[in-house]
C-alpha cells in the first residue's frame, strides 16, 4: 500500500499524540485523594482514645474562634511583610507581628504557584497536581472535600469579596459575595476598590461567620512592573489600612463571654524578581502567614517566623472553627495556635489530624503498614489512651503534664512522618504507562526516520507493507506477547497503573496498534538494510555535498534536542533559538554573498566584452542584488530588536525590557504610535495578495483591533475623551471576529473551489494566503499591544525572505521547512513566552467574551501562545503551494513530513530524558512545565500537519 508522505506524517503524529497522552497520564501523578466519595462528617469523627466510658469523647472539640476573616492578598511575598518593605509600608501589621497577640509563619506554597491551585490547596489541604494548572483556565466547581463546604454544612454563614475564581470554585456557597475578574491586568486600583467598598458595611453587619477577602491589585502590579516597582509601596500601605480597619473592628466587638475572633493574613503565592509567578523559586514560594487573635499570647519582640507549609492552615482553621478536617488534607495543624487550650484538648486536636492523615495514607498506599508514620501514629495513639486513663483517674498534675508533653511530641513526630510519606506519594510515577507511551513515541520517530528517503523522494510516497505485515506470523506473536506482558504486569502491580484500568477492548486496540507499528517498522528497516545498489550510491552522492547551511540546520536541530537535557538550557531555551537563528541568518547572508559576488567575478573580469548586453537588465538586477544582500541584515536587526521587546527565561528575566517600558502608563503615547505603526505595516504587507473584499475586511478588522485596544485602555484613541470608562471591549472584539471569520471564509471558499474545480494552483495559493491573512488579523487581536511589532516583524521577514532569498537561492523544501520551523520557535519566544507556565497570557481567552466560556477561551489562549509557530507554518503552506506551480515537486508533502520529523525528534528525546531525570531536583519546576509545552507544541504541529494533508489532497485525486 502506498501512502502519500503527508498522510504518513499525519498518521505518525496522531499516533505520537496518543503516546504522549499515555506518557503524561503516567508521569503526572494523580493527586493524593481518598477514594471515598463522601465527605467527612461531624458525626463520624473518631473517638478520643482511652476508656470507653470517658463521656463525650466522640465529639469534635468546640470551636476556638467566633468569627474568622481571611485576608488573602494575591502575590504577597514574604519580604513584603517581614522584610524591609514591610517595615516601611505596613507599619500597623508589623507592630502587631512584633508586639501584638499574633502568630507569624512563612508559609511555603508548593509549585505550581498559580492562583487556582493555591486556592484549592488553601481550602482542601491537598496539594493539587500539576495537571491542575492546565485546568486553571477552567475552574469548574470544586467537588473535593473542602473547608468552605464543611463550613456551609455546619451552618456557618460565609461572605466573600475578591477574585471570582472563588465563586466559580464554590458556587452557591457564599451568602454575601461580589466577585472581581482578574481580567484587566493593567488595572490595579479598581480591582481592590471593588473589594474595599464593601468592607465598612460588612464589618458592621453581623450576618456572617467567615469572611474571605481576596485582593488582586498587588499581583497585577507585579505582572506590570515587578516587585521593586514604585507602585508596590502605596499598595502595601493600602493593604495595611485594610488590615487595620478589620483588626480594630474585630477587636472592638470582642466582649467577655464570646469566643475571640481570628484574622488571618496570607498570600496565595509570592512573586519572582520579574513579578511573575508559577515557578518554584524562593520568592515565588515563600508567603507570609499571620494569625491575629486575642486568643494568642502577646509577643515580646520580633521573632524569626517559623517556616510551615501553606496547607497547614487548613487543619488549623478547621479545628479552630470546630469543623471536621477535609479528607484529602495533607497539612499538619499549627500547634502554636492551640497553645492556650487545655492539654487534653490539644491532644484531641492532634489526634483528629493524625487519624485523618493515617486514613489518607492507608487509602493511597497499599503498603501503609510499612510506613514509619503509621507506626509512630499507633504508638502515639496508645500512649494517648494511657494518658486519658491517667487523666480520668485524676492523677498527680506534674506526672500527667510530663506524660502529656511526651504524647504531644509523639503525635507531632507521627504527623511529620505521615506528611512526608504522603508527599513522597506525590512523586510516584506510573512507570507502566510511561513505558508504553515511550514505546509508541519511539516507534513513531523510528518510522519517520526510516521512511525519510522514500518520503522525501520525488514521488513523496511511502510504501507501507500493511497487508503482508498484518498477516505475518511476527505480528500475531507480538500481539500475544504484548497481551501476555500486559496481563503479567497488571496482575503483579495491581490496579495502580492506568493502562490496567482501561477497558480491555481499548487495551487490545492499543496493543494491536503498537504491534502493527512495530511490524511496519521492521518491514521498513528490512527494506532499508537490504542491499540494493542504486539508492545507496545515490544517497552517497547526495551526502557528499553538504553545504554550510545543511550542516548548520542539521547540527542546530540535533544540538537543540540534546540541549534539552540540561535544566538551564530549558529555562533559557529562547537563547538557543535566538543564537541558532542568528547563525542561520549569517550563513544565509554568506550564501547570498557567494551567489552575487562570486558569479559576478568572471563577468567583472572580462566585463568589457559583456557590458553592452548587460546594460538593460543591469539596474534592476543590481537593485535586486542589494535588496537580497540587505535582507539577512534586516532580519538580523529586527530579530535583535524583537528579542529586546520581552525578556524571558529565568536568569536575565529581571532585566528591563522594551515591553515593560512601553506598558508603563507614562509611555502610553509611544505604545499607541508603535501599535498603530505595526498595524499599518501588517496591512501593507498582507494586502498585496488579497482579493479586494478581503482587503476591505482587513482594513476594517485592523481598525477594529486598534479600537479594541483603545476601549480596553491599552492605547490612546486620537479623539477619545479622558473620562471614558474602561470597558471589556466586547463589541469591538466581536466586530473584529466577524472580519476574521469573513476572511477565513473567503479563503476556505477558494480552497474548496481549487479542490473541486480544475487544477488551478493559483487559486489554491490565493486561498491559502487569505486563510493566512485571517490568522494574522486574529493574531493582531489577541496579541498584547506591545507585541504587535512581533507580528509586523514576522510579516516583514517572511515577505523579504520569500522575495529575495528562498526563491532566488533555490533552497529545497526541507531547508525552507527547517528555516520556517526555527523562525517559528524564535517568534514563540519573541512573544514573551518561556518554558514556564506563568508566561501564558490567559487574558487572551477573554477577548470578546462577556463571561468565561470554556472552548473559545481555550482555543484563543492556545492560539495566542502559539501565534509565532502557527503563522510561520501557515506561511510555509502558502509558500510551498505557490512554489509548487512552477515545479512539479510535491513540496507540501515534503514540508509536512519535515515538520513531523522536526517535532517528533525533540519530543521523543525529551520524553526519554525526562524519564531518566525523573528524580532530578528541578523535575517539577523546570522539566514538567517544559513537558507540557512540548506536548502542546506537538498537538499544534499535528493540527497544522492535518491541514497540510488536506491541502495536499489533489495529486491523489488525479492519480
Amino acid at each position: 500500500m502506498k501512502v502519500r508522505s503527508s498522510v504518513f506524517a499525519s498518521l505518525c503524529l496522531i499516533l505520537e499524540i496518543c503516546g504522549i497522552a499515555l506518557f503524561l497520564r503516567g508521569f503526572f501523578p494523580a493527586p493524593v485523594k481518598s477514594s471515598f466519595t463522601l465527605k467527612s462528617k461531624l458525626s463520624d469523627q473518631p473517638a478520643e482514645p482511652g476508656p470507653a466510658d470517658a463521656g463525650n469523647s466522640s465529639k469534635v472539640p468546640p470551636a476556638l474562634f467566633n468569627r474568622v476573616v481571611v485576608l488573602l492578598i494575591d502575590a504577597l511575598r514574604e519580604d513584603f511583610v517581614y522584610g524591609a518593605k514591610g517595615r516601611r509600608f505596613m507599619p500597623y501589621t508589623r507592630s502587631l507581628i512584633e508586639r501584638g497577640s499574633s502568630l507569624s509563619f512563612v508559609a511555603k506554597a508548593r509549585p505550581p504557584t498559580v492562583t487556582m491551585p493555591r486556592i484549592k490547596a488553601l481550602t482542601t489541604g491537598s496539594i493539587p497536581g500539576f495537571i491542575d494548572v492546565v485546568m486553571n483556565l477552567n475552574s469548574a466547581a470544586l467537588l473535593e472535600d473542602n473547608l468552605i463546604w464543611q463550613a456551609r454544612e455546619a451552618g456557618k454563614r460565609l461572605a466573600f469579596f475578591g477574585d471570582d475564581t472563588w465563586l466559580r470554585l464554590f458556587p452557591k456557597h457564599f451568602k454575601l459575595f461580589d466577585g472581581t475578574t482578574s481580567f484587566f491586568v493593567s488595572d490595579y486600583t479598581e480591582v481592590d476598590n471593588n473589594v474595599t467598598r464593601h468592607l465598612d458595611a460588612v464589618l458592621k453587619w453581623h450576618d456572617w461567620d467567615i469572611l474571605i477577602l481576596h485582593y488582586l491589585g498587588l499581583d497585577h502590579i507585579g505582572h506590570l512592573s515587578g516587585p521593586h516597582s514604585s507602585l508596590v509601596g502605596p499598595k502595601l500601605i493600602e493593604m495595611d489600612d485594610v488590615l487595620k480597619k478589620i483588626h480594630t473592628s474585630l477587636i472592638s466587638e470582642e466582649t467577655e463571654g464570646i469566643l475571640p475572633n481570628l484574622l488571618v493574613l496570607c498570600g496565595d503565592h509570592g512573586m519572582s524578581e520579574t513579578g511573575s509567578h508559577g515557578g518554584s523559586s524562593e520568592p515565588e514560594v515563600n508567603t507570609p502567614l499571620v494569625l491575629l487573635s486575642s486568643a494568642f499570647g502577646r509577643k515580646a519582640g520580633l521573632e524569626k517566623p517559623e517556616p510551615v507549609e501553606q496547607v497547614d492552615l487548613v487543619p488549623t482553621l478547621a479545628l479552630g472553627l470546630g469543623l471536621p478536617i477535609p479528607q484529602n488534607n495533607v497539612g499538619r495543624l499549627l500547634q502554636s495556635a492551640f497553645q492556650g487550650t487545655p492539654l487534653r484538648q490539644q491532644l484531641r486536636y492532634l489526634h483528629l489530624n493524625a487519624v485523618q492523615l493515617s486514613l489518607l495514607l492507608k487509602d493511597s498506599s497499599p503498603h501503609f503498614h510499612k510506613e514509619e508514620g503509621h507506626e509512630l501514629f499507633r504508638v502515639a495513639q496508645k500512649s494517648h489512651a494511657n494518658w486519658v486513663k491517667l487523666y480520668l483517674e485524676g492523677n498527680a498534675s506534674e506526672v500527667l503534664l510530663n506524660v502529656g508533653k511526651k504524647v504531644l511530641k509523639q503525635y507531632l513526630d507521627a504527623l511529620k512522618a505521615m506528611n512526608a510519606a504522603l508527599s513522597r506519594q506525590l512523586g510516584k510515577y506510573d512507570m507502566y504507562s510511561m513505558v508504553l507511551g515511550m514505546v509508541l513515541i519511539l516507534q513513531v520517530l523510528l518510522l519517520l526516520l526510516l521512511a525519510m528517503p522514500e518520503a522525501l523522494s520525488g514521488a513523496a510516497e511511502v510504501e507501507l507493507l500493511l497487508g503482508p505485515s498484518l498477516l505475518s506470523l511476527p505480528f500475531f506473536l507480538l500481539c500475544l506477547l504484548a497481551v501476555a506482558v500486559h496481563v503479567l504486569v497488571c496482575t503483579s502491580v495491581g490496579a495502580l497503573c492506568f493502562p490496567c484500568n482501561l477497558h480491555w477492548g481499548v487495551a487490545i486496540v492499543l496493543f494491536t496498534a503498537a504491534s502493527a507499528g512495530l511490524c511496519l517498522l521492521l518491514g521498513l528497516a528490512a527494506r532499508r538494510l537490504a542491499p540494493t545498489g542504486r539508492p545507496a550510491t545515490k544517497s552517497a552522492g547526495d551526502s557528499g555535498r553538504f553545504s554550510e547551511l545543511d550542516v548548520l540546520l542539521l547540527a542546530g536541530s540535533v544540538g537543540h534536542t540534546l540541549s534539552l537535557a540540561a535544566s538551564s538550557f530549558i529555562e533559557e531555551e529562547h537563547q538557543t533559538w535566538y543564537f541558532l537563528l542568528n547563525t542561520l541568518c549569517l550563513v544565509v547572508f554568506q550564501d547570498v554573498c557567494r551567489k552575487y559576488f562570486r558569479e559576478k567575478r568572471p563577468p567583472a573580469d572580462d566585463g568589457a566584452l559583456l557590458a553592452p548586453h548587460d546594460k538593460p537588465a543591469h539596474s534592476s538586477s543590481s537593485n535586486r542584488k542589494w535588496l537580497a544582500l540587505t535582507t539577512p541584515l534586516i532580519t538580523l536587526t529586527s530579530c535583535r530588536l524583537l528579542r529586546s521587546l520581552n525578556q524571558t527565561g529565568v536568569q536575565w528575566a529581571h532585566l528591563p525590557d522594551l515591553g515593560h517600558w512601553l506598558t508603563s502608563s507614562e509611555h502610553k503615547g509611544a505604545l499607541s504610535l508603535l501599535a498603530a505603526g505595526s498595524l499599518l505595516l501588517v496591512f501593507i504587507l498582507v494586502q498585496r495578495r488579497c482579493s479586494l473584499v478581503s482587503k476591505i475586511a482587513l482594513v476594517l478588522g485592523l481598525l477594529g483591533v486598534y479600537s479594541y485596544r483603545a476601549a480596553v485602555g491599552n492605547v490612546l484613541f486620537p479623539w477619545q475623551q479622558d473620562g471614558r470608562d474602561l470597558s471589556k471591549g466586547v463589541l469591538e472584539a466581536r466586530f473584529v471576529y466577524v472580519f476574521v471569520l469573513g476572511i477565513l471564509f473567503t479563503g476556505a471558499k477558494d480552497l474548496l473551489r481549487s479542490q473541486v474545480a480544475v487544477a488551478d494552483g493559483g487559486l489554491r495559493s490565493r486561498g491559502l494566503w487569505e486563510v493566512y491573512a485571517g490568522l494574522v488579523l486574529l493574531a493582531a487581536l489577541v496579541s498584547r499591544p506591545h507585541n504587535l511589532p512581533v507580528l509586523s516583524g514576522c510579516l516583514l521577514i517572511q515577505v523579504a525572505m520569500t522575495r529575495f532569498i528562498w526563491r532566488d537561492l533555490q533552497y529545497d523544501t526541507a531547508q525552507v521547512t527547517i528555516m520556517h520551523y526555527w523562525f517559528g520557535q524564535a517568534f514563540f519566544y519573541f512573544q514573551g513566552n518561556s518554558n514556564n507556565i506563568g508566561t501564558v497570557d490567559i487574558s487572551a481567552g477573554f477577548i470578546g467574551l462577556e463571561t468565561y466560556v470554556e472552548a473559545p477561551a481555550f482555543l484563543l489562549t492556545a492560539f495566542s501562545t502559539y501565534t509565532g509557530p502557527l503563522l510561520w507554518t501557515f506561511h510555509l503552506a502558502w509558500y510551498l503551494t505557490s512554489r509548487q506551480d512552477s515545479r512539479a515537486v510535491p513540496s507540501l508533502g515534503h514540508g509536512c513530513f519535515c515538520l513531523a520529523l522536526l517535532r517528533s525528534m525533540p519530543a521523543a528525546a525529551y520524553i526519554i530524558m525526562v524519564t531518566a531525570l525523573r528524580y532530578h531536583l528541578f523535575i517539577w519546576s523546570v522539566f514538567s512545565p517544559k513537558l507540557l509545552y512540548e506536548s502542546a507544541h506537538t498537538l499544534v504541529i499535528t493540527v497544522v500537519c492535518l491541514f497540510f494533508t488536506a491541502m495536499d489532497q489533489k495529486p491523489t485525486m488525479r492519480l
Binding site: 538550557f569 537563547q575 535566538y578 542568528n582 559576488f597 567575478r601 573580469d605 528579542r643 536568569q651
Partner: protein, 282 residues
C-alpha cells in the same frame, strides 16, 4: 590576455618569490584548460593545488612543499608560544593579575602580543603581499588603509556580537574587547598576508579559493577562531555561577582556544591532504 596577466599578478602577490615562476606555468595551464571548456570546479580544485603541481617534477615540488609547511608550522608554534607568554608574563609582572578577574588586561596583552608577533613574522618571512610600487607615499597609504580596515573589522565584529544578543549599552567595553580580539585573530592575519585588498580576501574565503599553504592556514585559523567564539557562547546560560561565565570570558577563551587549535590543525590538515591530493593529481 589582460586577464591572464592579472591572474599572474595576483598570484605573484600571494606567493613567495621562490615558487613564483612555477605558479606562472600553472596558471597558464589553468587558463588553457578553461579555454578548452573544462568545468570551473575542476579548475578551482586544481588551483588549490597550485604550489604542489606548479613544478613539473613532483619530487622537487614535494620538497618545497615540505619546506613551506615546516615554515608555516614553526610560525604557528611561535604564535602559540606568544599566547602562552601573554598569559604567563603579566602574572609575573603585574600584581593581582588573573585571567578572570582582570580579564581585559589579559585580553589586550594577548591581542597586542599576537598582533606584534604576527606582523613581525610575516614581515620577516616575507610572505606578505608584494608591493607594486615601493614609494613611501604608497606604503603610508597602505598602512593607513590597513589600520582603517582593522578598525572597521572591530566595529563589524562588535555589531555581530550585538546582534547575537550582547547588551547594547552595558559592558560595551567588554563587547568591544571581544571584537578586538577576534579581529586580531582573523582580520589582522588577513591584512598581513593579503594586504588591504578586498578582492583577494573574497578569493581566499570563497570555496576552494586558497592558492598557497598560507591561504589555507588563514582559512583554517580564521574559521577555528570564529567557531571557538561561537561555541564559547554555549556555557553562558548555564546556572553554575562560575567566575569564567561572566561576559565575555567564555567567548574570548573560546576564540583563543579556537585560534590555538587552528594553529595546530592547519599544518596537520595540509600535511595530511598533501599526500592525498598530490596522489590524486598524479
Amino acid at each position: 590576455m589582460a586577464l591572464r596577466r592579472r591572474y599572474a599578478d595576483q598570484t605573484a602577490k600571494t606567493r613567495s618569490a621562490v615558487s613564483c615562476c612555477g605558479t606562472f606555468n600553472f596558471q597558464d595551464s589553468v587558463w588553457d584548460s578553461r579555454r578548452e571548456g573544462t568545468s570551473l570546479t575542476d579548475i578551482r580544485r586544481l588551483s588549490f593545488l597550485a604550489p604542489s603541481c606548479s613544478e613539473t617534477s613532483f619530487r622537487k615540488g614535494a620538497v618545497m612543499w615540505d619546506q613551506e609547511i615546516k615554515g608555516m608550522a614553526s610560525a604557528h608554534v611561535i604564535l602559540a608560544g606568544t599566547i602562552l607568554m601573554a598569559t604567563v608574563m603579566p602574572t609575573i609582572l603585574l600584581q593581582n593579575f588573573s585571567v578572570y578577574q582582570t580579564h581585559l588586561v589579559w585580553l589586550y596583552s594577548v591581542a597586542g602580543l599576537v598582533a606584534a608577533v604576527n606582523i613581525a613574522l610575516f614581515w620577516l618571512l616575507g610572505v606578505g603581499p608584494a608591493a607594486k610600487r615601493n614609494s613611501l607615499g604608497h606604503k603610508v597609504s597602505r598602512l593607513i588603509r590597513c589600520c582603517l580596515y582593522f578598525c572597521l573589522s572591530c566595529l563589524f565584529f562588535h555589531v555581530v556580537v550585538l546582534l547575537y544578543g550582547a547588551p547594547l549599552l552595558q559592558s560595551v567595553l567588554e563587547t568591544f574587547s571581544l571584537a578586538v580580539l577576534l579581529s586580531t585573530f582573523t582580520t589582522l592575519r588577513c591584512l598581513c598576508l593579503l594586504g588591504p585588498n578586498i578582492q583577494a580576501w573574497i578569493r581566499v574565503f570563497s570555496r576552494d579559493g586558497a592558492m598557497s599553504v598560507w591561504d589555507t592556514s588563514l582559512q583554517i585559523t580564521t574559521a577555528c577562531s570564529i567557531m571557538g567564539a561561537w561555541l564559547g557562547a554555549f556555557p553562558i546560560p548555564l546556572d553554575w555561577d562560575r567566575p569564567w561565565q561572566v561576559w565575555p570570558i567564555p567567548c574570548t577563551l573560546g576564540a583563543t582556544l579556537g585560534f590555538l587549535s587552528g594553529l595546530v590543525i592547519a599544518p596537520a590538515w595540509i600535511h595530511w591532504h598533501r599526500q592525498h591530493l598530490t596522489y590524486k593529481t598524479k
